[in-house]
């Protein structure tokens, strides 16, 4: 006998709204249905009504963790359309922020993986260290989340010698600690026992379902946009593509820690070889008709923007595909034949970012399963009515 277990859209195990409907037989998941759209904001439509500069800040708000990825992917595409060549110093600073963002995102994910596996000291250690890189980002850009450092033709803030020294110092500390985490992550018996063999995704499925990023690389599919399509400065930097061949959550941990170590290397190279000169050139207001495909390796995988210009100061079309959307079909495959207890671990292992993948409010009645779209004002009225009818503790007296 099989049952359907709904997980989400609001669920303690998932921090963002998505609905997973699991068909289970006992403890074993036999089928999974993913329903999206709970966080769809219509950003692609909105982008057609904003000008090229406004859109930088719009696409930056697609995501709160990989905000710089979307802004950079958009900006490097528009610069190609405008035939702008940003100064090399500007590019180095832009991609330095990219790598720092990758470090903060991977440290965040490692903590979440530790937490989902019940290894909370790992979570506390990695999140403590994440503060180092968050402080560096705040020092460079003035912000901790939306760095807003990109502009068309370069970046908006320069680096000075003191900041360069601080970044290098931070990298030394982070490298030392990450090597220790790598040792723990791959050797601590209870942690490895919890994550090894969970969420299996064979390489042929990765290829068929077009998975991206660390999810794909953990199954031995060594695709990295930075290596195969080296944009901007990546052609002149030395780094390796991290892979693992265990095809499970353990492999995804190993890939992300290896990528952290590569990112430290990249940051140090960029800070040490920072060219002198300007940080930005002036960009025109309008763009000639044309189209461009811009690819970028975000922390979660390949991010692709297709931008079409029609000769005005607004884009004709901006198509965004965030890495999480590409990983959903693979997630279904990972969850199938797994156990209920592994759901949060497997789902967290793709590092899902629902707000990236979606850009209306749906309510489901608990009893009947009936769904309806509700306007904010109706929702508010319902909330007030519900509150008025709720039992209230009257004249409560402090017992002591």
């Amino acid at each position: 006998m099989s049952f359907q277990v709904p997980i989400g859209p609001q669920h303690p195990a998932l921090k963002e709204p998505i609905s997973l409907r699991m068909t289970v037989e006992g403890e074993v998941i036999t089928d999974v249905d993913i329903r999206l759209g709970y966080n769809h904001r219509g950003l692609e439509k909105l982008a057609e009504e904003k000008n090229w500069i406004q859109n930088i800040y719009l696409v930056e708000r697609i995501c709160g963790i990989c905000s710089h990825s979307h802004a950079t992917c958009y900006v490097q595409g528009v610069e190609k359309l405008m035939e702008l060549a940003p100064p090399r110093r500007g590019l180095y600073i832009r991609y330095l922020v990219s790598e720092l963002e990758r470090i903060h995102s991977h440290l965040l994910w490692l903590g979440v993986a530790g937490h989902e596996a019940g290894f909370d000291s790992f979570f506390m250690y990695t999140w403590r260290d994440r503060e180092i890189v968050m402080d560096l980002l705040e020092m460079i850009s003035g912000n901790r989340v939306h760095y807003a450092i990109n502009t068309l033709g370069g970046v908006r803030r320069d680096l000075d010698e003191g900041q360069k020294a601080k970044i290098l110092e931070g990298m030394v500390t982070l490298r030392k600690r990450s090597e220790y985490y790598f040792h723990i992550g791959a050797n601590e018996p209870s942690f490895v026992g919890r994550i090894a063999g969970v969420g299996l995704l064979p390489k042929d499925k990765v290829v068929a379902l077009c998975a991206v990023g660390p999810t794909a690389r953990a199954s031995g599919w060594a695709r990295d946009v930075r290596k195969e399509d080296p944009y901007a400065v990546y052609g002149e930097l030395d780094f390796e593509v991290a892979t693992a061949d265990t095809c499970d959550v353990l492999g995804r941990v190993v890939v992300r820690v290896k990528e952290l170590l590569e990112s430290y290397k990249l940051c140090e190279q960029m800070v040490r070889n920072l060219p002198a000169g300007d940080i930005a050139v002036k960009a025109p207001r309008k763009v000639k008709p044309g189209e461009v495909v811009s690819r970028y390796e975000a922390p979660r995988g390949e991010n692709i923007h297709y931008i079409k210009a029609n000769g005005t100061d607004k884009p004709e079309r901006l198509k965004v595909r965030a890495p999480t959307l590409a990983n959903y079909p693979a997630t279904v495959e990972m969850l199938r034949k797994g156990f209920i207890a592994d759901i949060p671990l497997i789902f967290a292992a793709i590092d899902p970012c629902i707000c990236c993948a979606e850009r209306a409010v749906t309510l489901v009645k608990a009893g009947s399963g009936e769904e309806s779209v509700v306007r904010m004002s109706d929702l508010r009225r319902q909330a007030i009515a519900r509150h008025q009818n709720a039992p209230v503790k009257r004249n409560a007296v402090w017992p002591l």
Binding site: L36, K45, V207, C210, R295, E371, V373
Partner: protein
């Protein structure tokens, strides 16, 4: 293999199935294909050129027609397959038999542009709510969002 060599090989191989091949930048090939040939060309690229990874599918509303761009990539080159279908009869064949990972992108095209993708294993709406009004396709150029008047009880009048 450089882009130029690859274009020569593709022209010889695919013949009249490909109307034009543009190469506006390094690693960027744009192939124009008739909608009826899309599966044949995708299958050929998949089997003979190792084009197994689909990044996404972009739809563009060009007024009388819808333009669809399939963004494929290999470690060497990016293939962008472009096709156009009439707005009056927006039928498109699904490429999921060749590339199963295309399903979410094709469902998104159905939601956002009202294209009908034939042969899709799971044609339910992807991102729009279940009670979204019919015939409303947000990314069509003639669809405009009108925000309903918000009334805050007891608040600002």
């Amino acid at each position: 293999m450089t882009d130029a060599e690859l274009i020569e090989k593709l022209k010889a191989d695919l013949g009249d199935k490909v109307a034009e091949i543009a190469n506006p930048a390094r690693r960027r090939l744009f192939l124009k294909v008739a909608p009826s040939d899309i599966i044949a060309v995708t299958t050929r690229l998949h089997d003979a050129y190792g084009v197994v990874f689909l990044s996404t599918i972009s739809g563009v509303d060009n007024g009388e027609t819808f333009e669809i761009v399939y963004h494929f990539s290999t470690p060497e080159t990016d293939f962008n397959l472009r096709t156009e279908i009439p707005r009056a009869d927006p039928h498109l064949a699904s490429i999921t038999p060749v590339i199963p990972g295309a399903i979410l992108y094709e469902r998104e095209l159905q939601d956002m542009f009202g294209m009908i993708v034939d042969g899709l294993p799971d044609p339910r709406p992807l991102v729009l709510p279940d009670d979204w009004p019919a015939e409303n396709y947000p990314l069509r150029k003639d669809w405009k969002h009108t925000r309903p008047e918000e009334v805050i009880p007891g608040g600002k009048s």
